[in-house]
């Protein structure tokens, strides 16, 4: 299983500017909730789904997808059976299936699944670091932008340290890996939790100290603004993507408020 994180690649979406992708994510999510036709919701879902193979992303290998698909199915069934108030199309004892039930099921489940897929598309093809810099370029105060970048830097570091602490505990005979360990009692659980998190906390604090020295020692925070080495280059591809998004949103608005 792949983790839900950036997967390096060379696809169309990988090359799209992070802010354009963000605009697509926000725009299509808004459109999903504006669309009043089940066919519309299904088309967005379909487009989001085929975007995976088109961008060389292996949809079936992404962690968490099955859980979301299952949730969507449950939601669909609940709506199908319990939101049906009009004339039934089919009836099994107390369970009635109606057109309104199907429509509501598609709305709820289709929207959930579409938002999840769009989110995956964004996360799997956008380097978080690039996004951080792009947001700062677009006007996000750099102190907030670097909060994101610092978190990105420290999380893998802490993950590795947690692994080391776990191993160090095994080496001292704390039998996490032995059978029956899970039943060793609540009190022991709290002792172990403390013994696990204290070393991590101490080490995190010294890391944060070193980082603060490093940032201040390089004049972080000297001026309210700063310059950036990275140039934000919008390509024709980005222009086209934005144009298509604008047209799609215009279309949704037209149908929703001026259409039939």
């Amino acid at each position: 299983m792949q983790r839900i994180t950036y997967q390096p690649g060379d696809s169309f979406l990988h090359h799209l500017h992070p802010l354009v992708k963000l605009a697509w994510l926000v725009g299509s999510t808004a459109a999903l909730f504006a669309i009043q036709q089940p066919a519309g919701v299904l088309s967005v879902l379909f487009l989001a789904a085929i975007a995976f193979p088109l961008n060389a992303l292996k949809i079936h290998r992404v962690r968490g997808l099955r859980l979301f698909a299952f949730t969507a199915l449950l939601l669909f069934l609940t709506q199908l059976f319990f939101a049906s108030t009009d004339t039934p199309l089919l009836q099994f004892g107390p369970l009635r299936i109606t057109e309104a039930g199907i429509t509501r099921g598609i709305y709820v489940a289709g929207r959930l699944l579409s938002v999840v897929l769009l989110g995956y598309l964004f996360v799997l093809t956008t380097e978080p670091n690039d996004l951080g810099y792009a947001l700062m370029w677009a006007g996000l105060p750099y102190r907030y932008g670097f909060m994101l970048i610092t978190a990105l830097r420290l999380v893998p570091l802490f993950e590795r340290e947690a692994q080391t602490v776990y191993q160090a505990q095994l080496a001292r005979g704390i039998a996490y890996d032995a059978r029956g360990f899970a039943w060793s009692g609540l009190k022991r659980f709290f002792t172990l939790a403390r013994q696990f998190f204290l070393p991590l906390l101490v080490s995190a604090m010294s890391k944060v100290d070193a980082l603060a020295v490093s940032m201040e020692g390089r004049s972080f925070g000297k001026y309210p603004r700063r310059t950036f080495l990275r140039e934000v280059a919008f390509t024709r591809r980005d222009g086209v993507a934005l144009g298509v998004l604008a047209l799609a949103i215009a279309g949704v608005i037209a149908v929703r408020w001026f259409g039939g």
Binding site: N129, Y133, F146, I149, T150, L152, R153, P156, L157, E161, T164, V165, Q167, A168, Q169, L170, A171, R172, G173, I174, A175, Y176, D177, A178, Q195, F196, L198, P199, V202, S203, S206, K207, D209, A210, L211, A212, V213, S214, M215, E216, G217, R218, S219, F220, G221, K222, Y223, R225, R226, T227, F228, L229, R230, E231
Partner: protein, 494 residues
């Protein structure tokens, strides 16, 4: 350039002065080396010169520090940063971004320099540290030595007048260490840059003919002439007949065609070794050559992808680590990652309790070991209140309380001054004389030569040398690994 007058400093909550009555004048362009035992106040002095002490920490300061005419105590850090650059010990902890270019640009962007100038300075700084080829890399993909060179470049790019290196090579293998000192040599040749190097590896620094300063318990003194390097006499290794007998017994440890790695990526290939009782094995090789992977396999922290490992006859695939650990103790690099209990005494007795061997005998042994570690009066203190060297000795004592027959030690000498290191090594040696075996990953050839009986040398995941220690070094010399040879003018002393 630097003028310190009657400066003293005490961290809040501490009774002891970290720095006491320090007086120092350093002229522009001088090259100064500052040595002294771990925890003596060297790093505190570096933090004082950079102005960090007076902004980030609440402490009590008296006296004056002026750098380039600026009163450091009264100036904001970012003004002092225009003059002073500080390269810290751990490159990974001081990175603020994720890529080489972002990292070098970081300080320049904060100073609002225009893009063209940032590019120009970046090219220059990368050139000085000989890292132009790393320009498009992500920091996470660099080796330790490469990371430290980028950290140096990031500081240089700001064109500081004073550059301070705080133990810049403590996490590095001999090859990378030699490289960093070459970089320092190049910076030394530049005009108008004052360099202060805080280092234990004094032998590397002799070629710079620096001004030597020593710090002891927060007080500074000049050293006339040169400081002594690793001063402990070689230990005479006499063949011990009892151990010779033990050796004919079953090996403590055996690996057969061992291959192992992470996430499907094989790091270690085809390693077959047997280690018997009474051996002191030094494991050497560049960072990334598979030393730690090898050691992790020996305790079953990592299971072999091919071949197998037996610890006192037990297959690591079939036995839980927490059980194997009773026979094979593993001490990790960072002391802070392996202190779990609330008092020194509980820490020292945690493992025997877990293993169910807590009795009068182990209790007496724990008392003796803590006395030997110099922690006899500290039973009720919290482990995190100990000094770096004391924590290290506690780590080791906590392992010895259940008398494991195999001691696996991963770079436990990092950041230890020569006296502390010698103390740990002599302690280990006593265990080996008693029939245990030690497997020590370390980067100091002199230490390996003084204490070890056997050398394992790894290169790109393969065991390329497995020989008695003296023959091992002879083979290294033949193969041209000069950085790995014991100090004989090339400058390795721990």
């Amino acid at each position: 350039m630097i003028e310190i007058r009657d400066f003293s400093y005490r961290f809040s909550g501490s009774e002891r002065y970290a720095l006491r009555d320090v007086n120092l004048d350093i002229a522009a362009g001088e090259f100064v080396v500052l040595t002294g035992p771990s925890g003596c106040g060297k790093s505190t002095l570096a933090l004082a010169l950079g102005g960090f002490l007076f902004n980030q920490y609440n402490g009590e300061a008296t006296g004056n520090i002026r750098v380039a005419g600026m009163d450091v105590r009264q100036s904001p850090v970012y003004d002092v940063a225009e003059v002073v650059g500080l390269v810290q010990q751990n490159p990974e902890a001081q990175f603020c971004t994720l890529t080489v270019q972002d990292e070098i640009a970081f300080g320049l962007e904060n100073r609002c320099l225009p893009r063209a100038e940032i590019l120009e300075r970046m090219a220059w700084a990368l050139n000085v540290v000989d890292a132009h080829h790393l320009k498009d890399r992500e920091l996470a993909t660099l080796s330790g030595g490469e990371k430290q060179r980028i950290a140096v470049a990031a500081m240089l790019a700001a064109r500081p007048q004073v550059l301070i290196f705080d133990e810049p090579t403590s996490n590095m293998d001999p090859t990378a260490t030699a490289h960093i000192f070459d970089v320092i040599a190049r910076i030394r040749e530049m005009e108008n840059i004052t360099v202060i190097v805080i280092e234990h590896k004094v032998a590397y620094l002799r070629r710079f003919a620096p001004r030597w300063l020593q710090m002891q318990s927060g007080q500074l003194s000049a050293i006339s002439g040169q400081p002594s390097a690793f001063s402990h006499q070689p230990v005479v290794r006499e063949p011990n007949s009892e151990i010779q007998n033990l050796k004919s017994a079953a090996p403590l440890l055996k690996t057969e065609k061992l291959a192992a790695g992470y996430n499907g990526h094989t790091v270690l290939h085809d390693v077959s070794v047997e280690i018997g009782p009474g051996e002191f094995v030094a494991v050497m090789g560049d960072n990334g050559s598979g030393k730690t992977t090898f050691l992790q396999c020996l305790l079953g922290l990592l299971k072999p992808s091919e071949g197998h490992v037996e610890v006192t006859g037990q297959d690591t695939r079939a036995t839980p680590v927490s059980k194997l650990a009773q026979r094979a103790a593993y001490v990790f690099q960072n002391p802070d990652h392996q202190l779990f209990a609330e008092t020194v005494w509980q820490e020292a007795t945690l493992a025997p309790r877990n293993f169910g061997v807590w009795n009068k005998k182990t209790e007496a042994l724990a008392t003796t070991l803590l006395d030997e570690a110099g922690l006899g009066q500290r039973h009720d203190d919290h482990p995190y209140r100990l000094s770096y060297g004391e924590k290290r000795r506690l780590n080791l004592a906590a392992m010895l309380t259940y008398t494991p027959s195999l001691l696996l030690l991963d770079e436990i000498l990092i950041g230890q001054d020569p006296d502390n290191a010698a103390r740990l090594l002599e302690w280990l040696q006593a265990r080996v004389a008693g029939g245990s075996s030690a497997v020590l990953i370390n980067h100091a050839p002199d230490i390996a030569q003084h204490y070890a009986t056997r050398l394992l040398f790894f290169k790109a995941g393969k065991l390329t040398i497995d020989a008695p220690i003296d023959q091992g070094f002879a083979q290294l010399a033949r193969l041209g690994y000069t950085a790995y040879l014991p100090y004989s003018g090339n400058g390795n002393d721990g």
